[in-house]
Symmetry: C2
Subunit: 320 residues, 2 copies
């Protein structure tokens, strides 16, 4: 018997804690919350907290890239809800000995990402703390019938993804372990590192995907598919040969490593949506890729010819 | 000559750092940012970051009160912009060894304040950190012509305040130093502690004060008046006899201490507005108090019979 008074956050894990807090925040469950504002206008709100040493480090991420990535992650959540950006607030806690130059570079990275993808910094707060923490809340606008939710995928839908997956994880590896670049061209190395440091939120797909079912792949492609299936009460079959990995993985990585990073790498900030087959085919013409289909039942399997493997969920995003 | 590359946040202080970051966030300067949304609709956004050991501590503030105060501070910023609350997001960073009970109490306090004053938690994020940090972004709605800004106070305006000031500071003192209660009734002691732990944002005044000039007194009454005067390019004369202090200060505190806490105590979360005299008189009938008037020039003085003292700005809110 666990004494409730003594129960610690680390005993529950992130998902367990979120479940405990659900009664206080009934809107949770998508990449952002949809808040009706005026007739035919809804606002989407999304928040992220990044902590030095947990979500970024000077070893892999200069402050300009920390600012870019934090902003891109929030804009990606807006894209995943079908919204276009309005603005964001930045709550920054930092030690007094932080270099001012570091802080300015952080803001330069944030405003550069906003200048490219839309929105502006409209407010925030700065205060002293022992640990650098960047808390961003972004908000965007969506017409209610164009919002993208997770919970209405239907059996027979095609699963369509934008872009490639695993590139951000590969870029992180190259930053942490430069020797990993053996066998990779300099151009491919730079491409993968840029994918890690400067991800591009897929706001360019929002108009195409109005009213689709889906989310972004911030916690990995496998996680996105499993989350959509759980929310919709369905299963999925993913086709191993269709996994959207960077071309340079072939000949550089083992097949196992390539699939692991593509499915579980995370932080590619692409979109994963479920569409009726006819509409899915249109997306292929525009650069999307069909990676599988929604099935009856609850299991999410990777299909490789005759064999099927149940997808394991990565533990890497259990933050406690 | 200071090496810009080596300049630290603590060398600049909070105001200096904010000035450096102004180019990245042109909307700064009021309690919140006003963002146009649809015809006749604007959104007000405001953010606060609270850090364990800086803004709260288990010594003075149980988690329920931390949640209430953090929420009240943000709702007060909405009131200070003339807005009514829609919702807020909560970005929470905390060590794994934090008691789950502590976290739930925090959220209970937040939702209790929202239930009383309006709005709901519509999203957020939770992550691991060495330091408990609570980052709140609240948003509300205002018709553009009803927004309250700081920069248009006019010479001759009356300065009107809601409620009393200094009570929160007195409550904090009683929590830090129980012996300070000598000479105070048990009822007054409880009243002052409640003023510190459970401040009430003055959303009840928003309808009355539409289009006024002003802000809230989160950083103290003197700070609010000086900020309004700086933003408007005017001065002010404050009448010492009219300072809105709790009745129980008389006979308990020295006159100097009473005035110090009333002017500089902070965190009373009342509203300080400038209004033409006729409209100001109406506010008196509703419980407001005229504490002085806007003057030509730039100095903010405390007038006590024949003598005038220039107001010093408190240093207590220089967070670095």
């Amino acid at each position: 018997v666990v004494d409730q008074q003594r129960l610690k956050v680390q005993d529950l894990g992130e998902q367990g804690l979120l479940a405990r807090l659900l009664p206080f925040c009934p809107a949770a469950g998508d990449d952002g919350a949809v808040v009706p504002i005026a007739a035919q206008h809804a606002m989407v709100v999304t928040s992220d907290v990044l902590v030095d040493g947990v979500h970024f480090s000077d070893r892999t991420t200069p402050p300009y890239a920390v600012g870019w990535r934090a902003t891109a992650a929030n804009l990606s959540d807006l894209a995943a809800m079908g919204a276009t950006p309005i603005g964001m607030t930045v709550g920054l806690s930092l030690p007094g000995e932080t270099q001012v130059d570091w802080v300015e570079e952080l803001y330069r990275g944030m405003t550069a990402c906003l200048a490219k993808h839309g929105g502006a910094i409209v407010g925030g707060d700065i205060c002293r703390s022992a640990v650098v923490t960047v808390a961003i809340t972004a908000f965007g606008e969506v017409m209610p019938e164009r919002a993208i939710y997770r919970h209405t995928a239907k059996v027979g839908d095609a699963i369509v993804v934008t872009g490639v997956h695993g590139a951000s994880r590969a870029g992180l590896e190259l930053l942490l372990n430069p020797a990993a670049a053996t066998g990779l061209s300099a151009g491919d190395r730079e491409y993968l590192i840029a994918k890690h440091q400067f991800p591009q939120p897929r706001l360019d797909w929002v108009a195409e995907l109005a009213g689709a079912v889906g989310m972004d792949s911030s916690d990995g492609l496998a996680d996105a598919i499993v989350q959509i299936c759980r929310a919709s009460g369905v299963g999925a079959a993913i086709d191993r040969a269709s996994l959207p990995m960077p071309d340079c993985f072939a000949g550089w990585l083992s097949a196992e490593r390539a699939i692991e990073w593509t499915l579980y790498g995370g932080e590619d900030f692409e979109l994963v949506v479920c569409l009726a087959m006819e509409r899915a085919m249109e997306m292929i013409g525009k650069g999307g890729r069909i990676v599988g289909r929604i099935t009856a039942g609850r299991s999410v399997v990777l299909v490789d010819g005759e064999s099927q493997t149940e997808l394991a969920l990565s533990q890497s995003f259990q933050h406690f």
